[in-house]
Amino acid sequence: MSDVLPTIPPDTSDSLAVLEKARSTAETFGIPLAVLLEITHRCPLQCPYCSNPVELDRSGKELTTEEWKKVLSELAEIGVLQVHFSGGEPTARKDLVELVKHASDVGLYTNLITSAVLLTREKLGELADAGLCHVQISFQGIEEGLADRVAGYKGGHRKKLEVAKWTRELDLPLTVNAVMHRQNLHQLPEIIQMSVDLDADRLEVANVQYYGWALKNRAALMPTVAQLDECTRLVEEARERLKGTLSIDYVVPDYYALRPKKCMGGWGRQFFNISPAGKVLPCHAAESITGLEFLSLRSNHSIAWIWQNSEAFNRYRGTGWMKEPCKTCEFREIDFGGCRCQAFALTGDAANTDPACALSPLHETIFKQAEREAEGETNRFLYRNFAGGTLEPGNDA
């Protein structure tokens, strides 16, 4: 079946589905196939690499049940096929079963992206009955000591193992999401084995991407080049060995690459997400770019209108916004100059070349800095929370 497209290009930072054929509707800003719904920023975990913005939405700002249901109906109507219920921790919302049920009723394929620690077997059963199609559980390591320390949540690892087991008992497909960094990469062989033992269908080996919280924690998380090479070798070996048993998606940290990633498949091309407060965003880190105004669903615009016409989506679409060296680069329509959020975070201007690109004047400096940090002794985390972060107790050597 030559036309079966693996829809996750290997070079994206995120494993959200897109169907991209050359000159397809997706390429001309058709409605994305999958949308990420960050239904809350509340989460009992405090992972130092959380993909949520540093400025979290408080619960009072979250869309109501009725508003989310309206969103789901509208998404199905305009041609979205899949939704990812994410957060924060999506199960922190009491109406999740109702939302999954509504999504199923309007014909959407539903994924749950969860830390699992708040789930009971009964609740998981209710979600399955509501039509949930797939469960993805994050793991922070292979044993409680490290895993619970990374998550800043005691007893979390044990609970995750339990929920993973229930997931398979309920005949739901399971993805293990393992976010990798310097302090847990040595556990990768066991994480792969754990995924097989848990009877998972998929494993995401996702190296940390350094925006927001992760950027604040870069010195404690950045892997060494040697670690990363070993990680790649292990993934390749496991993919071959476990073909047909466990499929493995692999995301590398772009700091050590020569070419930047085609972030989100290009700004406003294939992806949007909706924040807890109902903002429609080109990526989950987009709010970190100051000076862009992102429209909310509470404005009187439809989702399709915001996607097609809003200033924030159009700002970095295509190649017209580019400066040198992107502007005349032969790869400009291949990687679209990398990641706008990373360009903004590291250079102060989102229209600059992402420094992950070897053609960026800052590439060398940043690579060297990352290498130094990877060899450094800073291991304490700044935990993610609504207070702007809390430093892990203890002393670095």
């Binding site: 079946m1 030559s2 036309d3 079966v4 497209l5 693996p6 829809t7 996750i8 494993s15 959200l16 589905a17 897109v18 169907l19 054929k21 509707t25 058709g30 409605i31 196939l33 999958a34 305009i78 041609g79 096929l81 899949q82 990812h84 014909g107 394929y109 994924n111 199609c133 797939h134 993805q136 005949d171 739901l172 497909p173 993805t175 269908d201 998929r202 073909k243 047909g244 048993t245 466990l246 499929s247």
Partner: protein, 103 residues
């Protein structure tokens, strides 16, 4: 999954899509798709036809018979293609099979 993993597709297999892989006609884009965990696959016309015949009752041989009759094409060639297509899907984790219950 609706059945075992790591399957080897042969003439006697009775393959089916597992619960988490849904074959659906996408009205917006006017194409058939298979919805799977965080993926959307675009099967070609023949693949769609094959998958619609994979109902858990027919085996791969029956599917080949049916297609050979319909298209007046050599059965052996069709069988080879059907097995290759289904095996590819199975290797990606989007196909399972019905097996007789062992007592």
């Amino acid at each position: 999954m609706a059945g075992p993993r790591n399957i080897s597709v042969g003439e006697a297999s009775r393959p089916v899509l597992p619960r988490h892989a849904k074959l659906k006609y996408d009205e917006t884009r006017k194409v058939w798709v298979i919805l799977a965990p965080e993926r959307v696959l675009a099967p070609d016309e023949i693949a769609v036809e094959v998958l619609q015949l994979c109902d858990g009752k027919r085996n791969v041989g029956d599917v080949a018979d049916q297609l050979a009759a319909k298209y007046a094409a050599p059965r052996e060639a069709i069988l080879t293609d059907v097995i290759a297509m289904l095996q590819d899907l199975a290797d990606k984790g989007f196909l399972t099979e019905i097996r007789e219950k062992t007592p």
